[in-house]
Symmetry: C2
Subunit: 243 residues, 2 copies
């Protein structure tokens, strides 16, 4: 990339990253929403993803710490509330625990995160560190996987309800909420990025930030695949489904 893109070309380039790299393209996602996972695999997915869910409000706080502008913090903090909750809203972490409990996982075990795969922890921690340490523009750009999220959430809801007799409507509340939350969030972030990435290096950094984030998501499904699909190499200490 050597020429400056217009804001709309930048958006196009960002969306093109999703077309090639978003984790809806991962074989584990296809298995999950296609009804090809066994219950242990669905449990492993939900257990590991809990750590990601917990990481999101932390990365949003890290990002807010980098915002000198109070108005911007007030705009962004709704994302934080979406996960940690506020007032009547229990928040996404609690909704995720509803899913893991309904899947038969012990709540305390899930919260302890002791059963997650090492690569899950590394990926999520890398995301928090990225947002904390990089310029605000790149931190915001890394959130733009939300551009691609609604379609995957819809696939998850319909796919999981259709294919698994152990999944019912009450368990997919997290994804239902995200269907409305994510598009609201992404409007602000996308506008910010299009407006503030005004040089070739900035635009390159923004595109790389989104690639980084797609890799954070991809690596989590890779780790699940290796451990729980094939070759089935579960790291020491990690969750072992009952067979």
């Amino acid at each position: 990339m050597t020429e400056l893109l217009t804001p709309d070309q930048l958006e196009e380039a960002l969306r093109a990253i999703g077309d090639k790299r978003y984790h809806n393209l991962h074989p584990f996602h296809a298995m999950l929403h296609g009804g090809k996972c066994n219950k242990g695999q669905v449990q492993a997915w939900a257990l590991n993803r809990y750590y990601y869910q917990c990481g999101i409000p932390r990365k949003d706080c890290a990002l807010m710490a980098n915002m000198e502008d109070k108005a911007m913090r007030l705009e962004w903090r709704q994302r934080y509330f979406d996960h940690d909750g506020l007032g009547d809203d229990e928040g996404g972490i609690e909704r995720w625990l509803r899913l893991t409990s309904a899947l038969g996982l012990d709540r305390d075990y899930v919260i302890s995160t002791e059963g997650i795969l090492p690569a899950t922890r590394h990926a999520v921690d890398a995301y928090i560190h990225f947002v904390r340490d990089k310029p605000l523009l790149e931190g915001i750009a890394s959130s733009l996987t939300e551009l691609f999220a609604p379609s995957i959430h819809r696939e998850r809801i319909s796919g999981m309800l259709e294919h698994y007799d152990f999944v019912d409507d009450s368990m997919v509340g997290y994804f239902r909420e995200r269907l409305t939350q994510a598009p609201r969030d992404v409007d602000f972030a996308l506008k910010y990025v299009k407006q503030h990435a005004r040089t070739v290096p900035q635009q390159q950094a923004v595109l790389n930030a989104l690639i980084f984030k797609t890799n954070v998501l991809w690596a989590q499904l890779d780790a699940l695949y290796l451990a729980y699909v094939e070759p089935g190499m579960i790291a020491p200490g990690a969750f072992r489904p009952e067979s």
Copy 2:
């Protein structure tokens, strides 16, 4: 320090730091609350301290980003709300702007922070970086200047109202709020520190964190003194009171 302190001895050692190092001992504070500042000096103080006020919610977000425990984030975030506001509460930053405006400073000029002294910026940024980069225990310990804050707020309220005809009751709302906010906050932080600093190195780190923070506050008054009291060396670009 070579021997492990009991939790109560640790509290005593923390309080002893305040007795020697809290900025209520600084000559500029004595001038300010003793009615010895001219209006330009009070303006310079309020203008510079605005940057500190803006830094506080950012450092609280940085600290929350380091909290893996959601319950702890929910406990801590009240501090964040105290400054950025929530619902009916406009928050401390807005209350501070009420003070600077009443002192005759242009609101946009204050918000721009372009008139603050370099050392103010360095001190506040150092605080945010400390909290972001150090272990959570030390980040929390650095907040413990709140142990000493209520007395200084009371001095400020009474001293400023008594001595300055350009200060009225509506301008000291920030400090009035802090009289109830700070003690509530410090209970949790002090208990946490007493409970979690269980080794000599941890206790030393906790004491050093509080010393660090007292220095952050002290350095801001040093900078004001040098620039606006004597010898009156105002850095290029910094606020110059009308004479």
